[in-house]
Symmetry: C2
């Protein structure tokens, strides 16, 4: 049965996902002769680049989340529904969702990506991913619970396992999380746990490639590694995690690390909707599109952002999974959908790489811009400025800024709260990960 949606004479564009790409697309369709229907499993947009600060007690979750309805408060052609999309029926042009059937004229898949455990279910059930706010909150709870628990253990080995953190994946998220943990270790935790010898806390960052931040310049990688080492992080490049049973990490090099805290940021895969022809899926479970973001083999289905792999001669592997790609694709697609409706020619996408950056700690960041690369305190200010700029909502910008200023001068992380204790219980976790629309 179809759900109840305001009637319209215009074609309906259904956007699945309220991330960077989905929001940009919907905004640029304002005042156009289409009905925009956005579906997301949450009622808010998540600013993923700052999830690691939520996990490490530096920011409250509410300041990096923004209600999706509020983004489009004054957009008359916009409709929003919280729902889980279960399947697409391309021939009949409708979506099967947790709230009913939703017919579309144009479908845009902007579902982003989810953590990739590369099929290792043992790691999946024992490690902490960090791709959503509930996951970041679970990690925040786990970090604090580990220290509370360490206080109760007599065995030095057990204490050390509880105070040992292994972060897998040396991309921006891994580097930023390792740096944030190192700051907790030096400035915050010794005050909180005077009974524990914090020198025994270890932070390990494991990366399979020969260098961290492999998508950035070698100069940035080198500087990030040296920042992290300065801060006491054990950087283990050229190595990878083979297994993790909840207490022992086995690395390919043969080394074993005893830890109860494995943070998994080693990769992502596209969040594909069932019903899309599996033959158009490429490496990383991304959906192959043409240069108009149109999914191969479909006339009226598009994919943008992380979930899309626009495979052309210049980009044989698609574009990197970063916010800028999603934003730029969303912007162009809004024009192309209107072009399509009016039988005008479509414009091919061309990515304008604005650069990339990562922060390691106070006064420490690395920035690669198209014509210049720099590291250190100025890079750190640029990083903060740009993150504030892209954060959605003025209230959020203000609260984040207040927190950053506070954290900087106090050397503190104010939100080290165990609001909902984390339980290593796969069933509960699964429920939380998948639960979308709680029926009353």
């Amino acid at each position: 049965m179809s759900i109840d949606i305001p009637e319209t004479n215009f074609p309906r564009v259904v956007i699945v996902g309220g991330g960077f790409g989905g929001i940009q697309l919907a905004k640029n369709l304002k005042n156009k002769e289409v009905q925009v229907l956005m579906i997301d499993k949450h009622n808010y947009h998540t600013f993923q680049p700052l999830l690691y600060q939520v996990a490490t007690g530096g920011l409250e979750p509410d300041s990096i989340a923004f209600p999706l309805r509020k983004v489009f408060k004054h957009q008359k052609n916009f409709v929003f529904r919280v729902a889980n999309v279960e399947k697409v029926h391309p021939t009949e042009k409708y979506l099967e969702t947790s709230i009913g059937e939703i017919p579309y004229d144009y479908l845009v898949i902007a579902t982003g990506s989810t953590t990739n455990f590369f099929g290792n279910t043992e790691i999946e059930s024992n490690s902490m991913p960090m791709k959503s706010i509930p996951e970041a909150l679970n990690l925040r709870s786990l970090i604090l619970q580990s220290f509370e628990e360490a206080l109760l253990r007599d065995s030095i080995n057990e204490q050390e396992a509880l105070m040992n953190f292994v972060i897998v994946g040396g991309g921006p998220t891994g580097v930023e999380t390792a740096g944030a943990l190192a700051e907790l270790k030096s400035h915050v935790l010794p005050n909180d746990y005077p009974d524990l010898d914090l020198r025994r806390m270890q932070i390990n960052l494991v990366e399979s490639a020969p260098r961290l931040l492999s998508s950035m310049s070698p100069q940035a990688s080198k500087q990030a590694e040296s920042f992290l080492k300065e801060m006491g992080v054990n950087v283990r490049t050229n190595d990878l995690v083979v297994s993790y049973n909840g207490t022992t990490v086995e690395l390919k090099s043969g080394r074993k690390l005893e830890t109860t805290n494995l943070i998994w940021s080693a990769g992502v895969k596209g969040s594909v909707i069932e019903g899309i022809n599996p033959e158009v899926l490429v490496r990383g479970n991304r959906i192959k599109t043409d240069s108009y973001n149109r999914v191969s083999g479909y006339e009226n289905i598009f994919a943008i952002g992380d979930v899309a792999a626009m495979i052309t001669e210049e980009t044989p592997n698609g574009h990197p999974g970063v916010a800028q790609v999603a934003i730029q694709q969303g912007k162009l697609l809004s024009k192309n959908i209107i072009n399509l409706i009016n039988n005008r020619e479509l414009k091919a996408f061309s990515y304008l790489d604005l650069g990339s950056m990562a922060t390691v700690g106070r006064n420490k960041a690395v920035v690669d811009l198209p014509f210049i690369r720099f590291q250190g305190i100025f890079a750190w200010f640029v990083w903060m400025f740009l993150h504030l700029l892209f954060l959605v909502g003025f209230r959020n910008k203000l609260v984040v800024l207040v927190n950053w200023i506070w954290n900087y001068f106090s050397y503190d992380r104010g939100t080290r709260l165990i609001i909902r204790p984390y339980r290593k219980n796969k069933d509960v976790m699964d429920e939380e990960r998948n639960l979308v629309h709680a029926k009353l």
Copy 2:
């Protein structure tokens, strides 16, 4: 087996509960010749007076919670453990807890109060209490989920039940929650849900006494009621809830209200520790103490704050369950414990009533001070000023202030996020309510 606690030659004062009373007591024992061991089931202090603003999307939960370890950062004689206290053994002078046995020389029960459903299990399993941060977050989720759900219903009756709010209990929490919901109705929800007719949203406040805020002056009650009526709240005094099955509220007057949202703030009861002689429990499950806060029949066990009923000739029912009583009792008890240790005479408690207040909405509050009573915009500023003053932590004060200024000028409530959907599932709720120390 006893837990591992730093050794000491001083007497050990164990404080159960990090609320207003427990914190004040522990602070005032700084640099005294005792070891202070605080136990709480959370690792943070909750500023309960602002929970209703978390529930209604006005504040982030993290800004009304404060890490307990941080409160006592530089207090050398202070030890903290997260634990659930299961039983006290007064003869053997130790506590049985979720983390092991904890011996004490002096025990202070500062466990506060919990929601009182007066034995009605049907109401307990179907209604929303609001005494903790997880409960306030559940309520926030429920409010938003109700509107998302209303969008999906065809039946006007079902829509109205989802948009009908019944608040039981006309004390400060009930009044403040009703006012906050009325502001959501007039300023926020119509923008978020243009498809819903918000005029059909109802807010009912049920109070069994003849007037709201019965602990305040008749003048304050009258003004609060007239503020609420102005804002569109249906005030139903002299009435009480007989039953609630999840969809229909039956009132004693015979009236029936259809609602899926029943907020229960009708009463509290003391959170007593098992093992205390049941004969010392008085009305409201409070522990009877003498005028030194010593529990009747025990030499070295004390109770302060909400859980204590200091029964004397002047206070035949004990003191009101407000923060000021807990703070003042904590302050005096710190002196009396030292007096006791040094065989000096104890000082009897005498409550200095500083007044009480409640806020209804923007520019609308009622304040009763010992020598003056006033209502309106000035009262509202006094209310905000004093709440900021008593809020623990400078960062929290700053973030709350930023939010209040933002909310005032934007007429907005920024944190209307469904981070963890609420499920009306007694088992899950029970787990969340009681879960304290998640084992890894």
